[in-house]
């Protein structure tokens, strides 16, 4: 091998190290490349298998799969519309709560907290991400729900004129458990860490020269944040929120444990009222009781969710990548 490479070097008069490789190096490159390719292929396979298995259901339902709300594959009447609406309602409620909280936590860690508090604070917020979603579900069901329905009742009684808050039989506590709102609150807690992580990273890259300049011109801390940190971190705020949205759309077990399934899209928009829906929880709840065709229909629902989360996350990655200078994603 060595002889061979020497000859090569003489022929070309110039050693090009990338071309002189031992057999170990060659196989190392092949193995590393192919694991990269395997990861790439795995993602394609997920989409492909979902498509293949959902084909028989999609052929029966046609385009009505996306417009129909009921879920009765045995009768040939099934569609993902109600689940889709429910999924987005839960995700939007979660974002409305989680994004302001995440912005505040990220600002506090990067701008306000003393240096020795930063690491422990970051760790504690990351612990929120480490807690399994099952435990969030249990907690939301047993601890949060009895307390949150009091707030729901207050909102439903006093702000019932807002369409989303409208609740039939608003004065009774019994009309509020297992609602979209409670599921949204729990999901909000689960996505705060990822939103915070992205925003913290972008905020901490705000140019120190401009921050010092703002301070030197007599700006207050809030002035610095408003005129330098937030404009600079706008991409991070949007990208972090969208990454959170992607997670919120796919959240399964916590939502399944909290909501009571409901398939009427009009009633779903009354977010405080009992009943909610989501694609992931539809799959989790119906899987064990489905026959082959029912599973095919669930695969079609899964494919819909797959495409939506993929699009949302791709957009988020692009926005985050543009908002910072060539650094890697470290979430």
């Amino acid at each position: 091998m060595a002889l061979h490479s020497l000859e090569l070097a003489e022929e070309e008069e110039r050693v090009r190290p990338t071309q002189v490789r031992s057999s170990a190096d060659k196989s190392y490159r092949i193995i590393a490349r192919s694991s990269g390719g395997l990861t790439l292929g795995l993602m394609a396979l997920i989409g492909l298998f979902l498509l293949i298995r959902s084909w028989s259901a999609l052929r029966v339902a046609g385009f009505s799969f996306f417009t129909r709300s009921a879920w009765a594959p045995g009768l040939g009447q099934f569609g993902v519309w109600a689940a889709l609406v429910g999924t987005f309602l839960i995700a939007i409620i979660a974002l409305l709560i989680a994004v302001p909280v995440a912005i505040c936590s990220a600002l506090f860690v990067t701008e306000y907290a003393p240096a020795r508090l930063r690491r422990p604070l970051t760790s504690f917020i990351d612990v929120l991400a480490a807690i399994p979603s099952l435990i969030y579900g249990l907690w939301g069901r047993a601890y949060l729900q009895p307390r949150a329905i009091l707030l729901s009742r207050w909102l439903g009684t006093h702000f019932g004129f807002i369409p989303f808050f409208h609740t039939p039989d608003a004065s009774s506590v019994a009309s509020y458990p297992s609602s979209t709102f409670i599921a949204g609150v729990v999901v909000a807690l689960m996505i705060v860490p990822i939103c915070t992580a992205v925003m913290r990273e972008v905020f901490s890259q705000a140019p120190p020269g401009e921050k010092e300049g703002a301070l030197a011109l007599g700006g207050t801390r809030w002035g610095v944040i408003r005129s330098v940190v937030l404009p600079f971190g706008r991409g991070g705020i949007i990208g972090g929120s969208m990454l959170g949205l992607g997670r919120a759309l796919g959240e399964t077990i916590a939502v399944t444990l909290i909501i009571a399934p409901l398939f009427n899209p009009r009633d779903l928009t009354h977010v405080l009222h009992t009943g909610g829906n989501s694609i992931a929880s539809l799959i989790a709840l119906r899987f064990s009781e489905s026959n082959a065709f029912g599973i095919s229909a669930l695969m079609a629902a899964g494919l819909t969710l797959f495409v939506i989360t993929l699009v949302v996350n791709a957009m988020a990655s692009i926005i985050v990548a543009r908002s910072r200078s060539g650094a890697s994603t470290e979430i």
Partner: protein, 388 residues
Amino acid sequence: MTTTAEHREAGDATIDLDEDRIDFSDDLPGDRIRARGLKTSEVVDLLGAAAGSFCVTWLVYERLTPLSGGLGFGVVWYLLFLATVWFIARERLGALHARDRIVGVVVATVALGVLVPLAVIVGYTIARGYHALRPQFFTQDQSKAAPLSPATVGGGSGAIVGSLEMVGIATLISIPLGIATAVFLSEIRGRLARPVRMIVDAMSAVPSILAGLFIYAAFILALHQQQTGLAAALSLAVLMLPTVTRTAEVVLRLVPGGLREASLSLGGGEWATVRRIILPTARAGLLTAVILGIARVVGETAPLIVTSLGNTHFNGNPFKGKQDALPLMIYRLVRLPQTAEIQRAWTGALVLLGIVLVLFVIARIVGGRGPGHIGRLKRARLARKGLS
């Protein structure tokens, strides 16, 4: 302001990078700007505002109006507190600083408020779970636990063994693949690297139930397999892979380029460089990647609903028959009506939370060291060889 800064060498202004504060104390007679932290006067203001607003709220709630309720009391107190802070700051420093103060207080309370649910979740799980936590939870399965027998009968041995085996198999699959992909992304690079990195990012966002559906379609249906622990392990491996790859890639990038170049210039091949220099240097970080990957999937429930189904009897064989897992057992039991079953679920939840938190703390401790960190044991070993 008479602080240590004035005792430093007099003369030009210094910018203290360590504490992020700009120090012009020698030039300016007034308050110096502090970018972080609180001054004593601010702390006094805040405490005074909190006490004053509490008293007013109490007066309004308990004496003057027929209002009631803990949440309402808290909200009114907080709003009054903000108003008091604003008035104090406006009287002292003017409207501009008052607004600054309000924003600071809101940001700090919201950020620290996030830690409240964390404490409540952990505390509540402990409070609900510890009653029935006996050694038998680790030695018995659920087969003897009738719905009405007390919660201290029956345990999660089948579930714990199942979880260990599933996570173990998933680790065996995803660690080599994940680290090899990370090596590819950070060492070999090339045209393929960008799409691979993007896909790994996208994969980490795939909803966990879809990983289960994928294995159901690609393994159970396509290869005519049964629902077993192995199928569950495969779906967990799909979920673990992106976590391991991304963490490992970040760690590998931290390995100083000088080490790489030194190895190559001494005649080490690429494989020798990776095996003898890069991977050992990043060992602590790679361990963190593995632990974070395990912590990510050990509590995962949704894919198991599809791939493993659960089992009340002990099944130690992941390749044959339905197998239970800790999250699956909790999910099954908590939806039953009997209090004893729900109690068993909470005991399981406590064990699961304990496992996840321990893994997380270990990952933090290991990951806190930089690449190439030489620990106490290794230092002793090097000293014996006369290298240190």
